[in-house]
């Protein structure tokens, strides 16, 4: 895959994403799905994931602002977020979703709030790093590897 063609620093950067637990092997599956027929598949998925997640985060934030908290609804939103994060491979975000749902079930408002903040941070961090990575990869594509099929 592209990885083979990636310059070393990119390879390392990519690897760190996994090492830090931001991504899991599901992401690799996505990468493997990419092929010549769908050269931008991964990016499409990433973009979709960002959009989806941002919207959900806003909605959840609003829901958390109401009082009393509607745990059912919150659980529903988190279920969605968990589903997309797991399909995407966002490991830490997914873990935060699971934790949040636990708190929801327990009716623990404080726990929910706290976990949500954490989730937002993780997501922001993931997004930032991924974007950096993709950008470098794009640059490498342009400048570098002639062997790049596309």
């Amino acid at each position: 895959m592209e990885r083979n063609h990636l310059p070393r620093h990119l390879v390392l950067q990519r690897q760190s994403l996994f090492d830090q637990g931001l991504l899991d092997e599901q992401f690799i599956q996505l990468e493997e799905l990419q092929d010549d027929a769908n050269p931008n598949f991964v990016e499409e998925v990433v973009t979709s994931y960002y959009q989806n997640t941002s919207t959900l985060i806003v909605i959840i934030e609003q829901a958390l602002g109401t009082s009393p908290l509607d745990f059912n609804k919150l659980d529903g939103y988190m279920y969605q977020l968990k589903g997309s994060s797991s399909s995407f491979g966002a490991k830490k975000v997914k873990a935060d979703c699971t934790l949040f749902r636990e708190y929801c079930k327990a009716g623990n408002v404080e726990g929910c709030m706290r976990t949500f903040q954490q989730l937002k941070k993780e997501y922001a961090s993931l997004k930032r790093k991924l974007e950096a990575y993709f950008q470098l990869a794009r640059q490498a594509r342009v400048t570098g590897t002639a062997s790049r099929p596309k």
Partner: protein, 680 residues
């Protein structure tokens, strides 16, 4: 077994492919498998789509369950397998699963981010053929074709067993199943099995080969027949073999019926959870009468009861009615109360009715609907029952009624005895009843339907619907107690609707019932008095009433569905104006049908509460049933006596209905009947 999943030698696989008529290129299978993916998460949808495409499947994505259902319905054979998420905003994934299982019988795989045991168990109990946990990996998707094959194979077996089609070939097949891969078998398979659409087969579906299509598509009509059969047998006693016999559909196997019955039971269980509380009420009172009816599943039964119960039918009329059919007869009069409950019954019944639309046929056969004409007694539902009795001829009508509730209607018919319930309607008039039988039957139906409808409404409209109380004025006019109209607002109505009912009085026991029905449960009675007067002159009108009632067996399909066509009562009223004679009634019935839904307005009936003692058993027939709604209409019904334009009535009723009836369609989304609404 199939070593090659879609690649190369898939002798086995190919056999499945080859099912289609002959030697198809097996190698392709499972490539080209048509998958429908439903998930509200766009990221997952994109990923799944890509994965499935990589497996060489044909993918259609969909992010809403409703859209998925309509896609599946429009293109019944357009997909081989469905993958759906469990948790979706517009519809629960399990509900979708049920729908698909009942309507299209496709294999469905559930997907979820939850891996809790309970959720997985739920998937299994709802009939999912597999359960995937997110994140879904492509490996898991590679093998989903096995579910399609498995289902086909089972269908085949059913077909074989039923011996419907192929015989010789079939035998081979079973063995072939074992040897799926053996090429020798393949030959047999190919020829005999025509498993249509294994994957890209489009043409195969038609079952070119001798074997009949393994997969049975449960169309609305077929399902209605099924429900009718089930209702006729009684939900508890319905066994696939008997259902199969009753349905008498060529090519249908016992296994097909068995699996469909299973799904249907699940569906009912779900519904009953909703309507049980309602029916519970009715059941209590109805029981005396109802006994014959059996679980009021069929509204008709309810109606009868209501009739019988509520109707205080004039002794004679009631007696006649009752004697004729119900056997319960007169006892009903006292019962009037139940009417109210009856409604509940009906509501409960509704679900059944819906399905039972086909059942109507049962009714007609057996019992003449004793339309109690004049049984003014508040017997609302009961009156109808009485009607049965007298309405021997009504039998046919009853059928109709039965059709609706399947059971209830049959009850009417068959029950003749139970008739006392409300059926009294016909009895009194007896003579003419035969005429009305249809109408009476209708009322019953309406009741039943109403029941069904009521089910929806929850308002045991049944009681109302029973307006059937066709209290056919002696003239056999079942003059359904237009009382149904009573449903309309019951109060004022009760009689009004039964303008015909008044006939009843003249005839026999003009039951206020109609009104009582309407009142249904409630108090239409008060108005009965008014109607009584009306009725009296109306004796003839009853006839009309009946007409309306019979909304017709044909309606069957409708009745339960949403507005229970039953509104016959409504029609009945209408009939009044026009010709009060049966002729009119018919129209009315049709109108009533719709109205019936309106009848649902049983709510109105409640207001009636007083109406119970309606003497005029307005056989609300149809109207009552829905009567709930009709109460408003009832106001209109009063008009009937004056030959109210049917249209007016209908529209009035319809309006009411619309509000209330909310056909149960939602449940099943069957085209024919909205079973969904049943639970109201």
């Amino acid at each position: 077994m199939n070593p090659s999943i879609g690649k190369g030698s898939m002798s086995t696989a190919s056999s499945s492919v080859a099912w289609k008529a002959g030697d198809v290129v097996p190698d392709q299978f499972p490539a080209g498998l048509r998958v429908l993916v439903v998930d509200d998460d766009p990221t997952c949808l994109v990923i799944l789509e890509k994965m499935l495409r990589t497996c060489l499947y044909e993918v259609t994505k969909c992010n809403r369950a409703e859209i998925a259902l309509s896609l599946l319905r429009e293109n019944k054979n357009g997909f081989d397998i469905v993958i759906s998420d469990v948790h979706m905003p517009d519809m629960d994934g399990f509900k979708l699963l049920e729908h698909i299982g009942l309507e299209m019988d496709l294999p469905v795989i559930m997907m979820s981010a939850d891996d809790g045991k309970n959720v997985v168990m739920k998937g299994v109990t709802h009939g999912a053929c597999d359960y995937l946990i997110k994140p879904v990996r492509i490996e898991a998707l590679k093998n989903i074709w096995q579910h399609v094959v498995r289902k086909r194979k089972n269908e085949w077996k059913d077909v074989e067993q039923s011996g419907s089609v192929e015989d010789g070939d079939r035998q081979q097949k079973p063995s072939e199943d074992v040897d799926y891969s053996s090429s020798a078998n393949e030959g047999n398979w190919k020829s005999s099995k025509k498993r249509k659409d294994e994957e890209e087969d489009a043409e195969e579906r038609d079952d070119t080969s001798t074997l009949k299509k393994p997969r049975v598509v449960w169309s609305v009509e077929l399902h209605q027949q099924f429900v009718a059969a089930v209702n006729q047998l009684g939900i508890d006693k319905a066994v696939p073999k008997k259902i199969l016999e009753l349905m008498n559909v060529p090519g249908l196997t016992r296994e097909n019926v068995a699996s469909h019955l299973q799904k249907y039971r699940l569906y009912l269980r779900r519904l009953s959870g909703v309507s049980q509380h309602q029916s519970g009420l009715n059941n209590s009172f109805m029981s005396p009468q109802e006994a014959p009816f059996g679980p009021m599943s069929s509204l008709s039964g309810l109606d009868l009861q209501s009739l019988g119960v509520s109707c205080q039918l004039p002794a004679q009329s009631l007696a006649t009615l009752q004697a004729a059919g119900l056997g319960r007869s007169t006892s009903k009069s006292g019962i009037q109360m139940p009417l109210v409950d009856q409604r509940n019954l009906f509501s409960f019944e509704n679900p059944k009715l819906r399905f039972g639309e086909g059942q109507q046929q049962h009714l007609s056969n057996s019992k003449p609907i004793n339309l109690l004409h004049g049984i003014p007694t508040t017997m609302e539902p009961k009156q109808l029952a009485t009607l049965h009795q007298s309405a021997q001829s009504l039998g046919s009508l009853n059928m109709q009624v039965n059709a609706h509730g399947g059971q209830s209607s049959s009850l009417l018919m068959q029950m003749a005895q139970p008739q006392s319930r409300g059926q009294i309607l016909n009895e009194s008039t007896g003579s003419h009843v035969p005429r009305h039988p249809s109408s009476i039957g209708q009322p019953i139906m309406s009741n039943g339907i109403a029941g069904g409808v009521i089910g929806r409404n929850g308002i045991s409209d049944n009681g109302r619907g029973t307006g059937y109380n066709q209290v056919p004025p002696t003239s056999s006019m079942l003059s359904f107690p237009m009382n149904h109209t009573t449903e309309l607002t019951g109060n004022s109505f009760p009689l009004g609707s039964t303008p015909g009912i008044s006939n009843v009085t003249s005839k026999g026991a003009f039951h206020e019932e109609v009104s009582s029905e309407m009142k249904g449960s409630t108090g239409l009675l008060p108005s009965y008095d008014i109607f009584n007067d009306l009725h009296q002159h109306k004796s003839q009108d009853w006839e009309l009433q009946n007409v309306g009632l019979h909304f017709d067996a044909s309606q069957n399909a409708n009745p339960i569905q949403g507005n229970l066509e039953v509104s016959p009562s409504v029609l009945v009223h209408q009939g009044y104006s026009s010709s009060q004679r049966s002729g009119q009634n018919r129209n009315a019935s049709s109108l009533g049908r719709g109205m019936f839904s309106g009848v649902d307005s049983t709510e109105q009936r409640n207001t009636q509460s007083g109406g119970q003692h309606l003497n005029n058993l307005l056989i609300d027939n149809s109207v009552r049933v829905k009567a709930e709604r009709i109460p408003d209409a009832s106001s209109q019904t009063t008009l009937f006596p004056e030959h109210f334009g049917q249209e007016d009535l209908m529209s009035a009723l319809l309006k009411q209905q619309q509000g209330g009836i909310g056909p149960a369609e939602t449940e099943f989304d069957f085209d024919g009947y909205s079973m969904d609404n049943i639970p109201v």
